[in-house]
Symmetry: C2
Subunit: 235 residues, 2 copies
DNA sequence: TTTCTTAAATTGGTTAACCAGATTGGTTTT
DNA sequence: AAAACCAATCTGGTTAACCAATTTAAGAAA
């Protein structure tokens, strides 16, 4: 059993450096929204790194909506001003992997909203998808198997029915990490899972009845143990 | 003035196809959490696409936490089960660019939380950063200039002080789009911006006093016009 | 048989050359 | 002078060859 100093992913560090250089370039040249960046070739030459490294850095900044590259044309600064651009890049460079506590805290916040919206807005098709996810979860639990995945898919079905694509996306991004940690720390033991079936069913019924307040209450009940867990785990 | 059928970015479509094929492969081979995918070369050969296309698709899936590639070793399936993996990839493939309405709705949700948390948890340094952002905003407005960026940076400073890295990241991802739309639709006209100064100051004071309830109330006041706007704009 | 050594094969990352479409600037045409 | 044309150039995207670190398995040593 060797003690590892965390590898401190070297590649991430390189990419952050490139992103930082792109920001410096934009500032130095006073590029404004819609302006074109130099070609990938010139940037890579300029920075002394490979073109694919530059491309990856650009892809990351595209993901955050700060750049937009058009084929056979160029890479362009997004329609936000330089102040916001600088502030956001600084924040992106400083970003660290979210801690589990903040993940759970955020999940609760998001889901208390999605469940209300789902009750208000769900279509018949979306309701059916939620029901199918519910049944899949119940079946898995009754057969005595671990059902963390089916649990989360039920919640994702609700997020999808909320009609808010942004929250839906956010739920998607935090779910893998949630599943990993739940499995690792055995947050959802089998005895708890049995209770979970009824709690899920209550949530489903509230959404079916289109009662947002009730849905939120039932979700709160469902999160009760999660609340405690969230505020007791060690950082 | 030509009417454009939206270009329907071809590259995105190709990447989605590759992601779909990766999912199919994982299912066909019944790969489980931690299992290794074939090398990028074999995948690209298998799919009949370039290796860099495969790499980009993998990078996207890495971003969502579904894959993890290790240098000189291989690409591995994340520690989530096949059910969740399939569900999430399906959702990712179906993701569309968030509509403005959902962005604003989500922003309000997130910020009513960050402002409470910031009041509870902010350090002296973070309080000072919020104050600086406030002053920068006020100065810009008083000089009669557009201050959408400084406005959002004030809110981002609060998000940073919330101590919740997940919400902070989410705020970062939606901010550029918010700025773009606010600028485009002139949501924050100059006369409104003047009122905004005092509203910002009220929020700042509540955070300074470490009064989460007051902070939330002041943020609600600040969002009042946004509420209306959010529920009146055309889709 | 088990353990250690070591060299060949495999890996993700990098580099450089190539492609087709977009851009550009000078030329021709009107 | 202004519009239309066209070829040279530049662009992001793709491909293929290369690199160094890692993994592997075959063989030597115990």
């Amino acid at each position: 059993m060797k003690i590892e100093i965390l590898p401190k992913n070297e590649n991430d560090a390189i990419q952050k450096e490139i992103i930082s250089k792109i920001r410096d370039y934009i500032n130095y040249k006073n590029l404004e929204p819609g302006d074109k960046l130099p070609s990938e070739r010139k940037l890579s030459e300029n920075f002394g790194v490979s073109r694919s490294s530059v491309r990856e850095a650009i892809q990351t900044l595209e993901f955050y909506g700060l750049l937009k590259s058009k084929p056979q044309s160029g890479t362009f600064v997004a329609d936000i001003g330089s102040v916001a651009l600088n502030g956001m890049i600084s924040d992106i460079l400083r970003l660290e992997k979210p801690d589990f506590k903040s993940l759970v805290e955020t999940r609760i916040l998001l889901e208390l909203k999605t469940v209300r919206l789902a009750a208000l807005r769900r279509s018949k098709e979306e309701l059916k998808e939620i029901e199918e996810a519910l049944e899949a979860y119940a079946t898995k639990v009754m057969s005595g198997e671990d059902a963390v995945q089916e649990d989360l898919l039920f919640h994702l079905a609700i997020a999808k029915a909320s009609g808010n694509s942004t929250i839906n996306t956010f739920m998607l991004t935090i779910t893998p990490e949630i599943i990993t940690n739940f499995t690792k720390y055995h947050v959802c033991d089998k005895n708890i899972a049995f209770i979970g079936i009824q709690e899920h069913r209550d949530i489903y019924e509230a959404i079916k009845k289109q009662d947002p307040q009730l849905a939120k209450e039932k979700m709160k009940v469902h999160f009760k143990m999660l609340y405690q867990y969230c505020y007791n785990i060690k950082d």
